[in-house]
Amino acid sequence: MKLYEFQGKALFREAGIPVPGGAVVTAADRTGLFAPSVVKAQVLSGGRGKAGGVLLADTPEEAAKAADTILSMELKGERVQALLVEEKATIRAEYYLAVTFDGEERTPLFMASAAGGMDIETVAERTPEKILKLPVDPLWGLADYKIRAMADFLGYGDRREFAEFVRKMWKLFREKDAVLVEINPLVATDNGLMALDAKIELDDDAGPRQKALFETMSAERRRITGSAAEADTGTITYVPLDGAVGFISDGAGTGMLTLDLIRDFGGEAADFCEMGGLTSPQVMYDAMKAVFTDKPDIKSLLIVLIGGFNRMDEMAEGIVRYLEENPVSVPLVVRLCGTMEEEGKAIMKEAGLPVYDDLRTAVTDAVRFAAGGD
């Protein structure tokens, strides 16, 4: 779950990480507006500064005008529903500091750069030497010498203050089950370090043990932005595409393979719909519903199943029940094999539905049917 800046700042404040004083303002409640201030759009996408979503206001009139301007904006397709209005800070130096994880190296990772305020991906691409990447062993913890290395790399003189700051960040990252805590920019002021921005992403898989945190964040999001949290789609991944061949798989790898083969054989997929490798009849049913709801005009539906943990009897059950309740007129091509294959094929046969064994033949037919062949 990605958090808005104002939510991240609240967690920072709670963790003892210095942030500017400020207030959340919405179109309905503008009582928090003040000046001089910095007026900032609250959106989940990046690059808002460049897009004009951050304005300075010296007077109350300017603050009101800035609020009007930003509240009418749409940034990368996201309507601005809320603002964070903050005190201006006197900036002596700007840094980038983040902690996340590197899944390929299997480790949490700090990233520090003196090129603060910039788009860090651009910095990484053009001048990778300007970013210090420090893996941290989660069981050993954040060692002092690593903190010193970061402070020295950034050229920040007060090592003790820096260490205290970084330790709070690390603690927050671990205790809140965050997958990203990013401060860009982290600034040096006359009164020490301060987080001018806050980008936090929580681990959805940790939801069950961070119940209170997730509930608070979702409720706040609904109250302030009026937008609901992302719908929980379970294990189904659904991506709409432009072609005529509707398509469902029970594995990401075979899903991507099938997507490639559809194109290689001259067709275009209408969607990418993958159910995950351990699934149920209901998920099969829901996947078909997702495709037919979003793409009612598909010309054929290709279902590619290869069961390991997945049971083919259960998949067949889901398919048959969907078709009983929602008769469809497009040709259906089902490739089904693997765990409980015989049982699955028997269920399909009883329902009068053909089953394929070979993937290439199945894709060829699905593409041919979509093109109007028989």
Partner: protein, 288 residues
């Protein structure tokens, strides 16, 4: 020989009394895998599919001397179970579950690194050395004993390629699934290293997908160290940019993580490129 698992592998099933645990234990036993014990706290003394169940891995260790574990323990308890297995001396741990909190996975992998334990997964279909041992979900009849070593991120893709090879009469030494990420206990490069040193593996098949850079790291190793023929299939050539396709890590960002960039690196390393499982078979046939 084979890699990771063979006829000497003695397995405990963690979470053996759950729905997946029971069903999978049955298929492992049917295959001939030596499942010596199961562990579920509080269920010690019971029996599942003829396998004795213990309260703790330590108890199972004393009486049955396992050397590998497969875990079906629910995500929130997976870390504890993994620590328990590793501390008891298990050297190979297969984490099948998806949805384990990321910090727990990072902790488990840190602990594994310290103890020299090999972890497959999380979210993996596991490993099969056909004719010797199956420690995962690979459907038995899609595999047969032979000389081709296969490593894949995706479980389903490893079945698909295994099935195509087996239907064509080409057997496998070991077939390994690594999981869809975004954190991997073991990566392609490490398995290719094992295949490279395995006398029973004559040809290596690397199955990869869009996103991240582990295939590129494997390609670097292949270019430098591997003299056995390598065949590679990278899926997601037709994938749209910026969308995760089922695996958290399977995403193209700008020109990064594309199938083309990986295919290029593998080709430069001397690998033969296939664009479908059928083509993997054709290439292997030509290699003789």
């Amino acid at each position: 020989m084979a890699v990771l698992v063979d006829g000497n592998t003695r397995v405990i099933v963690q979470g053996i009394t759950g729905k997946s645990g029971i069903l999978q234990t049955r298929t492992l036993l049917e295959y001939g895998t030596r499942v010596v014990a199961g562990v579920t706290p509080g269920k010690g003394g019971t029996v599942v599919e003829g396998v004795p169940v213990y309260d703790s891995v330590a108890d199972a260790m004393k009486e049955t001397s396992p050397n590998a574990a497969i875990s079906f323990v629910p995500p929130m308890f997976a870390k504890d179970a993994a620590y328990e297995a590793m501390e008891a001396g298990i050297g190979l741990l297969v984490l099948t579950m998806e949805g384990i909190p990321k910090h727990d996975v990072l902790d488990v992998l840190s602990y594994a690194r310290g103890r020299g334990v090999r972890v497959l997964g999380p979210g993996t279909a596991g490993v099969i050395s056909p004719g010797k041992c199956k420690l995962g979900a690979h459907p038995a009849r899609m595999f047969r004993e032979g000389k081709v070593g296969v490593v894949s991120k995706s479980g389903a893709l490893s079945y698909e390629v295994g099935k195509t090879l087996t239907d064509a009469g080409i057997g496998q030494s070991t077939v390994v699934a690594l999981g869809g990420g975004p954190i991997w206990g073991t990566n392609q490069r490490e398995i290719v290293e094992l295949f490279n040193g395995d006398p029973e593996t004559e040809i290596v098949v690397v199955l990869g997908e869009i996103g991240g850079g582990t295939e590129i790291a494997a390609a670097e190793y292949i270019g430098e160290q591997v003299r056995k023929p390598v065949v590679s299939l990278i899926v997601g050539r037709a994938a749209p940019e910026g969308k995760s396709l089922g695996h958290a890590g399977a995403i193209i960002r700008g020109n990064k993580g594309t199938a083309a960039s990986k295919m290029e690196a593998l080709e430069r390393a001397g690998a033969h490129l296939a664009t479908s499982p059928a083509q993997v078979v054709e290439i292997i046939r030509k290699l003789g």
